[in-house]
């Protein structure tokens, strides 16, 4: 876990709290700009007027999405290698999903077996959840291995196009009081932050992240939806995150995406990712990393092991 100041916020569209988060950072004055990475918004990444109005200070848009588009045009060899890695990761993900479906169904199905004493059922359930956790761990290791191999072979930071944009980013970040990482498409955001090594360019700068931004910065990116229009909807570990946000599984819009009134599902998720806290981010939450723990600056709920929502304390 990083030493720098890190804040995780709920979705910003209806309850913007970045201004309050900046106040917590004790940024020197209202004139100091904040840097913004909104690559998850893709082609809309430059539309930060609302954020600028909200924070009341200059916003330096890092244009991470556009920079990587430019790098891909300039360095097609690197682009092809990135795409090949993504294709391979997609195939690995599909295989993982196949195994995961059986493991999750096995855990859920235990509750339906009649005439089993509760202690026996609880023991089997623990084993079933352990199997899912092992699967998650193996998958994450495999993904990290793929990233390591890619980096060792291609050394993107040494390629001229990437190096040039990294220099420009370093310069853009230099006068900023904080780095904001917005939500959007989590894979696009994560891949571009990673390719440009944005966090490494500002090792001491406070970071404020929300929605997909918080997910990309966590140790593992967990995708979730209990009621998709197609398919059963198994919560899945999708990627290795950037590791800045430890101890949390951020769940933006959980009230819309998860069946929070289903104790079986809630407890399964809580136990699957324990000791990390599965944090319900409805909008309005502010969590700050304080030396060795997350400190909520708002009413914040987490999924509890007994299937209910608990106050995050």
């Amino acid at each position: 876990m990083a030493e720098r100041t890190v804040l995780v916020l709920g979705p910003q569209r209806h309850v913007p709290r970045v201004r309050e988060a900046l106040a917590l950072i004790a940024s020197p004055d209202g004139e100091t700009p904040v840097a913004l990475c909104s690559a998850g918004w893709e082609e809309r990444e430059l539309e930060h007027d609302e954020l600028q109005d909200h924070v009341g200070r200059p916003v330096v848009n890092l244009e991470v999405f556009a920079r990587v588009e430019s790098i891909y045009r300039e360095d097609p060899e690197l682009h092809a290698a990135v795409r090949a890695r993504h294709d391979r990761m997609r195939r690995v993900q599909a295989l993982h999903q196949h195994r995961l479906a059986h493991a999750v169904e096995a855990a859920r199905g235990l509750a339906d077996i009649p005439d089993v004493s509760s202690d026996l059922a609880a023991e089997e359930r623990r084993d079933a959840i352990a199997a899912i956790r092992a699967l998650d761990r193996t998958h994450l290791d495999r993904l990290r291995g793929m990233h390591d191999a890619f980096w060792a072979e291609w050394r993107p930071e040494q390629r001229p196009a990437v190096a040039r944009h990294r220099d420009a980013l370093r310069e853009a970040l230099e006068p900023c009081a904080a780095l904001c990482v917005a939500g959007g498409h989590v894979a696009i955001l994560l891949n571009r932050l990673r390719l440009l090594g944005v966090l490494d360019l500002c090792p001491h700068l406070p970071v404020i992240a929300w929605s997909a931004g918080a997910m990309a910065l966590s140790h593992r990116v967990v995708l979730f939806h209990d009621s998709p229009p197609q398919g059963p909807g198994y919560v899945e570990v999708f990627e290795a995150g950037l590791g800045l946000v430890g101890g949390l599984v951020p769940l933006p819009h959980a009230q819309h995406r998860l069946r929070l009134d289903d104790p079986e599902r809630v407890s399964l998720l809580a136990e699957r990712f324990a000791p990390d806290a599965c944090v319900v981010l409805r909008g309005g939450e502010i969590l700050a990393w304080d030396r060795d723990r997350w400190r909520p600056h708002s009413h914040t709920e987490v999924l509890g092991p007994h299937g209910n929502l608990e106050e995050f304390a």
Partner: protein, 381 residues
């Protein structure tokens, strides 16, 4: 279980008092749905009362029984789980006959001919995604006049642009036959706003087309294929950024609109990678040309017979829906194995409903999200 006293009144030696009937009717929801049975009730002066429905397989009108000595009429029928049935009441009073909506039932379904009463069976729920969601950003509908060489005239098309439309992005295109009717009677605009907001489909551009002579133009007309496959996309692409790949191009329609969709895709294979065919009028014959329907079906039958003989592979992914209570269910069921044999990815959904707009509305989420899956799993705003 009978939750009402109609049977007792029917077999009682004396009629119930008017006040007793009025008390029973007051505040009650009609028709009375009890498990897989529905009881329809009419209260008023009449010589006879009939239930007029469009359930294929049942007599198209079913007689009510009068509670002796009263103006209270009733009819109980099977209504399997999940059913939704549109109906009217045929009321004869002396020399006067009228086809009316059920005065005791406020549930209505509108269509181009007016409105019908609706009975919703146990297990049927109006989907939540058809209602306006104040959180959902709203798309915009603009009008466009498209010059058509094939029709020799300009055609008016309405175009749905998704919320936060940007020229810098490229969009999938879906052409919807009878599009304005889909908006009016199947809440298509709200459904699109909601599904895009929920990330269940991607932001898309939707061409809402109509026809001044749909029975002719939708029945395998070469000019129509030219229009939807060539002229219309060309005109749209000149104005809006479209993804130029077959998996991002779709045709959709109901009834004859489904025939028009399949026919255009068949005439231009590979052009439209996605088809949504609802209650298609896919009437065919196995021998001879006597199809037992109106002459308007002649070109449809010729097309479907030709398609069955040489289907080719008109598209890549096809979602077919049809109501179990439609006379077209036989033709649609028959078409599925044939579509599957072409190598296309085919999904078929039946529901206990009829040939109507709300049936088509209710299948939109499943169909559109399967044909054009949105970034639901990836985007966390």
């Amino acid at each position: 279980m009978n939750a009402h006293p109609l049977d007792a009144w029917l077999h009682a030696g004396h009629p119930p008092a008017p006040q007793e009937i009025a008390r029973w009717l007051h505040g009650r929801e009609f028709p009375i749905v009890d498990g897989d049975r529905a009881t329809f009730v009419f209260h008023g002066p009449a010589t006879s009362v009939e239930l007029v429905h469009w359930i294929y397989g049942l007599e198209s009108s079913m007689a009510f029984q009068r509670i002796h000595g009263t103006d209270l009429w009733h009819l109980t029928m099977d209504l399997p789980h999940g059913s939704r049935v549109e109906y009217k009441l045929g009321v004869v009073h002396g020399h006067q006959q009228a086809l009316i909506r059920d005065p005791l039932n406020p549930k209505l379904a509108r269509d181009p001919y007016g409105a019908n009463s609706v009975v919703q069976g146990a297990g049927y729920f109006v989907p939540d995604w058809i209602h306006e969601d104040e959180q959902a950003r709203k798309g915009e509908i603009v009008s466009l006049s498209v010059p058509s060489r094939s029709f020799g005239e300009d055609r008016d098309v309405e175009v749905y642009l998704p919320a936060r439309y940007r020229k810098t992005r490229r969009y999938p295109l879906l052409v919807v036959h009878d599009g304005p009717d889909y908006v009016r009677f199947a809440e298509l605009r709200t459904v699109l706003d909601n599904l895009i907001h929920r990330l269940e489909i991607p932001p898309m551009i939707i061409a809402l087309t109509g026809s001044p002579d749909r029975v002719r133009e939708y029945a395998d007309d070469e000019r129509h294929a030219d229009f939807v496959a060539d002229e219309l996309p060309e005109a749209l692409a000149a104005r809006w950024p479209l993804v130029d790949r077959s998996e991002a191009r779709g045709l959709m329609g109901a009834s004859f609109g489904a025939v028009a969709s399949l026919s255009a895709a068949w005439r231009r294979p590979g052009r439209f990678g996605r088809l949504l065919l609802q209650s298609g009028s896919f009437v065919f014959t196995d021998i001879g040309r006597d199809h037992g329907r109106s002459p308007a079906f002649d070109p449809v039958v010729d097309f479907v017979n030709a398609f069955r003989a040489r289907p080719g592979k008109p598209s890549e992914r096809v979602f077919v829906t049809c109501g179990t209570y439609e006379s077209l269910i036989y033709y649609n069921r028959s078409l599925i194995p044939l579509l599957q044999d072409t190598g296309m990815d085919v999904r078929f959904v039946e529901q206990r409903d009829g040939h109507n707009w709300e049936n088509w509305r209710d299948r939109l989420r499943e169909g559109l999200s399967w044909l054009f899956p949105g970034p639901l799993w990836m985007v966390y705003e």
